[in-house]
């Protein structure tokens, strides 16, 4: 492990700046937003999973007392086939607009068709029932393999498969095919003494954030649009709304309210453009709130998938070749995270011969959205189950086989990049050394499983401004929505530079008019990239403060030294002044000091995790209890260890839910039958043991303090780890998620 530097603030656990307001209920969320003259919007959603819209008649709704405006896709600018670039790749603008309000077809149950603004939410709801929509109902396509069949009903008549730069002639539900190849897989499999090939199926799962989507929009008389909302990125809301409404970004201001969870699900916009359309039509501010059912049926979950993994190894455990076939459900419009799945699937290993095929396939379900390491958990369920089976067949310890094949600096990933300094081996070693791994676990129907995971993490743009206050504190202005304690983790990086306590930093997450461009809180980038910008902004403050001290002492700047929060003179003069005291003298030494940092760093460091889980299976009911869980992860550098642990625990818990019970259950018509937290079974605290989070620190050379992203990789290993533990407990390999009690009963031959 790299040498540990001494830090004053980094690595400590100060109370988060937003904590008290949140636990006392004073923090303001989107639903709290109030304004004089506020109207309430409600979206009418499709009752069919797949249908052509013949006609929409809004006249009865418009005539209903209290209704101030009704909008449909006709109120959106004609998108045609324009392509919008939203920073995360080009998106077909018609697809983007149709997902906001369907124009010609509805492609999932819950697809927005029209919206009403009225003087009360109840009137808006009632008026929605007065909108007459005539549909021609079409057969739904609800499963990825069915959608890929040649005779499957088509969702989009003009969608043609693109594959390695070529576009097919015939329309298809397969939007794209990607392939990554390394070495000679055929030769690799020929060298193997053992080859294991298995099929896997995973269900559609939701991020399960507690706070439903919300948006309030208001147009000023001069055409300035303001949107108050819950989002992972105010700037991406601005971009998406600008594209969808074909409205200049300079005329849109997005104000991020506090956010009650996102996990990737609050990047795409749904009701924000709708609120804007209603506001425009009525000339009043309009607030639109989703219900929980709206959230399940009308926003993006992470995809169901069909995965085939084949791996070969020599009898001493060296993996010689790996092959993966990943078919992901995009939902109604292209854009499944099959790319990231393909990037991550074999990344914990150093394998010479690899081929990975990925397919992005449309089905009649909501368009998928990111969810914590999107694509990687699906893929790892397959690969980590197969690695476990190979280890078992070769009678090699599952951690040993992972160590034997572990990815290291200089290895090439199948999709191209060469690993910089990574902590795969250190994470595995720490897992092996943890007492959990060697604790006795031999009881009947008890089992232990391990699995690893990788997530590449991203950089992207961030901006931070620091204003120095005369009392020795600083105001830190940032554009990153704080989902997991990033006000603290960003503030701490500035505090470390300036030698002040974290409590002397006042972080504010502000609107798009008040800070430089900042990409979404996603990709585990915020503590890394916005923290990096805070570091740069603090460096500028430090440089300017040094200049002030030099001015004060009438010495050259080179003769001023700054250490431990104290400026001192090093040319023989006995001068010393604290950061705080110098702050009080800014007025006399030249005026206010503002520092700014803007970054687009390319050095995001990939993160590895290895999880160990103990389960007990009730053989009569098929119910799996999690008895003990240890999650080990390379954080690079844990700026605030409590929030790193929180991220690790949260990811593991969401993975446990994904593994055991969470799934969208559809009937034959394509209606989700469990669109509530009652029947969409996320684990509660009563279903979970304490999740032991173990932080490994292999600093990322691409960040001044060594930060790697931490939020996503912990959801990658749990599904396979639990499947492997179930196998250890009852001798049955589960290859379909969730591993719910009925599926276990079937697999055990009990029903």
């Amino acid at each position: 492990m790299a040498e540990k530097k001494e830090y004053k603030v980094i690595g400590t656990r100060p109370i988060r700046h937003d904590g008290v307001d949140k636990v006392t209920g004073r923090a303001l969320y989107g639903a709290d937003f109030q304004m004089t003259g506020l109207l309430h919007g409600r979206v009418l959603r499709s009752p069919h999973a797949h249908a052509r819209i013949i006609s929409i008649d809004t006249s009865r709704a418009e005539a209903y007392p209290g209704v101030k405006g009704v909008v449909t896709a006709k109120d959106l600018p004609d998108a045609g086939d324009k392509v919008a670039d939203l920073g995360e790749g080009a998106v077909n603008l018609k697809h983007l607009c149709d997902n906001i309000l369907a124009s010609d077809k509805v492609l999932y149950k819950g697809h927005a068709v029209a919206a009403v603004a009225a003087t009360s939410p109840h009137i808006a709801e009632e008026a929605c029932t007065l909108i007459d929509v005539e549909y021609e109902v079409l057969p739904p396509v609800l499963e990825v393999r069915q959608a890929m069949e040649a005779d499957a009903p088509l969702l989009h008549e003009h969608l043609k498969t693109t594959s390695m730069g070529e576009t097919a002639d015939e329309p298809s539900n397969v939007a794209s095919h990607i392939q990554h190849k390394l070495g000679d897989p055929e030769k690799g499999f020929a060298e193997a003494d053992i080859v294991v090939e298995r099929d896997f199926v995973t269900g559609t799962v939701h991020q399960g954030y507690i706070e439903p989507h919300n948006a309030t929009a208001h147009f000023n008389q001069d055409g300035q649009l303001t949107i108050w909302c819950s989002t992972q990125g105010a700037f991406t809301v601005r971009e998406q709304v600008a594209e969808i409404l074909q409205y200049p970004i300079s005329k849109i201001k997005v104000v991020p309210m506090e956010i009650g969870g996102g996990f990737g699900g609050k990047i795409s916009v749904y009701i924000k453009p709708v609120a804007a359309l209603l506001a425009k039509k009525t000339g009043k501010p309009v607030k639109v709130l989703m219900s929980r059912a709206d959230v399940f049926e009308g926003t993006g979950p992470t995809p169901a998938s069909y995965i085939r993994v084949k791996m070969g190894a020599t009898k001493d455990g060296k993996i010689t070749a790996a092959e993966a076939y990943l078919a992901f459900e995009a939902g109604a419009y292209p854009g499944a995270p099959v790319g990231p799945g393909a990037m991550c699937i074999f990344a914990p290993y150093s394998i010479e011969n690899v081929v990975i095929d990925g397919y992005d396939v449309v089905v009649n379900k909501p368009k998928t959205a990111p969810y914590r390491a999107p694509g990687a958990p699906n893929a790892a369920f397959g690969s980590e189950s197969v690695v476990d089976e190979i280890a078992e067949k070769l009678d090699i310890d599952p951690l040993e086989i992972r160590l034997l094949n572990a990815a290291k600096e200089g290895d090439r990933r199948a999709d191209g990049p060469i690993h910089p300094r990574i902590g795969c081996i250190e994470t595995l070693e720490a897992t092996k050394a943890h007492p959990h791994y060697t604790a006795p676990n031999g009881k009947k129907h008890h089992g232990r499983g391990v699995a690893s995971g990788y997530w590449f993490n991203i950089g992207l743009e961030s901006s931070v401004t620091i204003n120095v206050n005369s009392d020795g504190t600083i105001n830190l202005i940032e554009g990153s929505t704080d989902i997991g304690g990033t006000r603290a983790s960003i503030a701490m990086q500035a505090a470390e530079v300036l030698g002040i306590p974290a409590e002397s930093v006042n972080p504010s997450v502000v609107d798009t008019n008040s800070v430089g461009y900042t990409a979404v809180t996603g990709g585990s980038r915020t503590t890394y990239a916005t923290g990096y910008a805070a570091y740069e902004a603090a460096q500028e403050v430090k440089r300017k403060m040094i200049a002030r001290a030099a001015k004060l002492w009438e010495v050259n700047e080179a003769n001023v030294q700054f250490a431990d929060g104290e400026f001192s003179c090093i040319n023989g003069k006995e001068e010393q002044i604290s950061f705080r005291d110098l702050c009080a003298q800014l007025g006399q030494t030249g005026g206010p000091i503002v520092g700014s940092g803007t970054v687009n760093p390319g050095g995001a460091g990939g993160a590895y995790a290895t999880h160990v889980v103990d389960v007990v299976v009730d053989e009569e009911t098929g119910k799996v209890e999690i008895l003990r869980y240890t999650a080990v992860q390379d954080a690079g550098r844990a700026i605030h260890p409590s929030y790193v642990e929180g991220q690790i625990q949260g990811g593991a818990v969401q993975g446990i839910g994904w593994a055991l019970n969470e799934e969208y259950i559809y009937n034959a018509e394509g209606t989700m039958t469990n669109a509530s937290f009652l029947d969409y079974r996320m684990p509660t605290c009563l279903d979970l043991p304490m999740i032991d989070a173990v932080i490994v620190e292999v600093p990322n050379p691409g960040h001044p303090y060594g930060v790697r992203g931490v939020g996503e990789v912990p959801i990658v290993p749990p599904m396979a780890a639990i499947a492997n533990a179930i196998y250890d407990a009852i001798g049955v390999r589960m290859t379909e998620l969730p591993m719910s009690p009925d599926r276990l009963l079937k697999a055990m031959g009990k029903i």
């Binding site: 009632e126 509660t684 009563l686 009925d742 029903i751």
Partner: protein, 292 residues
């Protein structure tokens, strides 16, 4: 949510008169943990909510070792399990009242409301069936009584006629050497609706080796909670054995007519009826045998 009227009735006759006048579109409001959600989600069309929480007769909670329990229809779960004597006498009722919703819900929800909501999956109903409880019903023509197992007629439907309301439940005093047990299967450990529920009561002989009589009830495997009459009768006079319990479990499975839905499949439910019936019977027997 649609507008509706609200009346806090002070007496049973007042509530009955309102029910009789408004018919289908009037509903009794007690805890409201089902009703308010149903109205909010437009699953029930209600013009008038008649709050009965201030009517003394529906708030009675009276236990007497000789005459048994009178449980007012609006008595909340938390009040029931706060009485030690009731916990000792009717453990299956306590098994159920402590798992209906969470702690907060148990402060509002009651067993009477659970019965009137007539969910096939209601946790509160199988214990009432195995405890031989009777419904006391008030209506325009006075009071009548009905065994609990005859109260639910279909999902959300009850034997209450126009103008009738449930006033209370009467539960006989437990026989000596008897006890009861209720459990449900849910994929999580809380905050879930029964995939299958099973309740059992047993009365043993003085040696605690032979079953004098038993009652078994099932939830979530038919349009209404079921009294497994044949399965229960099979046990009368039988010495306690795995074979006897298996036979009863199989007889219980034979009357299950489950559906497949988002909470579980029909095969899973039929299988679980066997598992849970055995566990409920063994649990009740164990309680008798553990009692000094």
């Amino acid at each position: 949510m649609q507008d509706f009227s609200y009346v806090a009735a002070k007496t049973v006759p007042e509530a009955v008169a309102l029910l009789d006048e408004k018919g289908e579109k009037a509903r009794i409001l007690a805890g409201g943990t089902d009703l308010i959600v149903q109205v909010r989600e437009a699953r029930r069309d209600v013009d008038l909510m008649i709050d009965v929480k201030s009517i003394p007769a529906v708030n009675v909670l009276d236990y007497n070792a000789d005459t048994g329990l009178t449980l007012g229809a609006a008595v909340e779960c938390y009040k029931i399990y706060a009485v030690d004597a009731i916990c000792d006498a009717y453990p299956s009722l306590i098994d159920a009242t402590t798992i209906i919703g969470g702690t907060a819900i148990q402060g509002r929800a009651g067993v009477g409301g659970n019965l009137c909501n007539a969910s096939p999956a209601a946790d509160g109903i199988p214990p009432l069936i195995v405890l031989n409880a009777t419904c006391v019903i008030a209506g325009p023509n006075g009071e009548r009584e009905l065994p609990v197992e005859q109260f639910c007629t279909a999902p959300g439907q009850t034997a209450l006629e126009k103008g009738e309301m449930l006033v209370s439940l009467k539960v006989p005093a437990p026989a000596s050497n008897s006890s009861s047990f209720y459990l449900r299967f849910i994929p999580r450990n809380e905050m879930d609706i029964a995939v299958v529920g099973a309740g059992a009561s047993v009365t043993l002989d003085d040696a605690k080796q032979t079953i004098v009589s038993a009652r078994i009830a099932l939830a979530a495997v038919a349009p209404t909670p079921l009294f497994a009459e044949e399965a229960s009768a099979l046990l009368a006079g039988r010495e306690i054995s795995d074979a006897a319990i298996d036979e009863a479990a199989q007889a219980a499975q034979a009357i299950a007519r489950p559906i497949s839905d988002m909470r579980g499949t029909a095969e899973q439910r039929t299988h679980l009826v066997g598992v849970l019936t055995r566990r409920a019977l063994n649990g009740a027997i164990q309680r008798v045998q553990d009692a000094s």
